[in-house]
Subunit: 218 residues, 2 copies
Amino acid sequence: MCLPLLMGPVTVNPSSERSGARARLEAAALEAFARSGFHGTTTRDIAAAAGMSPAALYVHHQSKEFMLYVLSKAGHERALELVSDAAASQSEPGDQLVAVMRAFVLHHARDPIGARVLNYELHALSPEHLAEIVRMRQETERIARDIVERGLQAGEFTTADPRMTAVALLSLGIDVSRWYHEVGDWTPEDVAEHYCELAERMVGARRSGCGRTSSMGS
Amino acid sequence: MCLPLLMGPVTVNPSSERSGARARLEAAALEAFARSGFHGTTTRDIAAAAGMSPAALYVHHQSKEFMLYVLSKAGHERALELVSDAAASQSEPGDQLVAVMRAFVLHHARDPIGARVLNYELHALSPEHLAEIVRMRQETERIARDIVERGLQAGEFTTADPRMTAVALLSLGIDVSRWYHEVGDWTPEDVAEHYCELAERMVGARRSGCGRTSSMGS
């Protein structure tokens, strides 16, 4: 598992036993949720995997649900930041599409296990925590939709339903985390480059920006 | 939940108490796995939801894993049959692509809960059962790949990596089961029609077959 890529660098202050224990607990929780699902994991399992007593776990986190929330929040913040930075790195919708798709696909191919926990265990969050995560997901969707709609308005893209096309673009990226270890022997970069070309086709882009930075353009 | 669509019509002989009980158990297991995950579900939960004693459950199924296997086998057989029938209903790769994408997307949009259990709980199967399910998934992938490769050979499609494009087409369909109840207010038919157009674009189809049977072509 490639935890730092999902969570961003975990800041551990060596002088702080508390933050080190917290990072260990979060890594143990993510691995347990990935292996057994949220409902199949006990706080005792997580504490044992982190080399701590169940009582010590409660010093750091209020409950198993709170641990899932902390992991989900950090993972979704990271994904939103990647997408937001990629969109801001370019000015034209066609270039933004390529940058966002590449970053989003690389993120899911490089840490499929973490991404699976984040995408498939949402139903286990409390209503308040779920609402907070959903807002971040909606913001990611808004960025993708905005790119498609601006490309359409500029005459660069053609699509009958820009909103559903934006959903499909993100869907393709998210589902990489499900199939990446099951099918094929592609590197994350291989998938990102081919998906960049697929994304351009899905929006009906008039010109390709994939080929400019890759040897695998159509 | 729309169980018959996933599983095919459940054959219940009214004179057979045994087959009626088995169908009840399978419906209860699917619902419990969808709600709590495989590892978060006990055989006791399933028996109670089906109005049976845990002992009675073992008359019908050897274990919780065996129930997941029975559900997975029936669901994957149904998906493979849909894809296989759709491919066989047409002769040209372009028409086959449209027929397969439409059937596959409708299947996942109409029964997202069942499809989620089938796609996201595979890791809980025994190695032998998993191998059997993987063979069916590979056969579905082979049909999709064959369509893309024949379209390429016929000069109807263009794609730099036909295998990854086929994976992406099925991936789009499968992931509908994750997002369908979270985003948008489209009918399964709306999604199937738009995804049919996206599929044609992804393979670089020279002509569109979507528009012929839908009002939503590009």
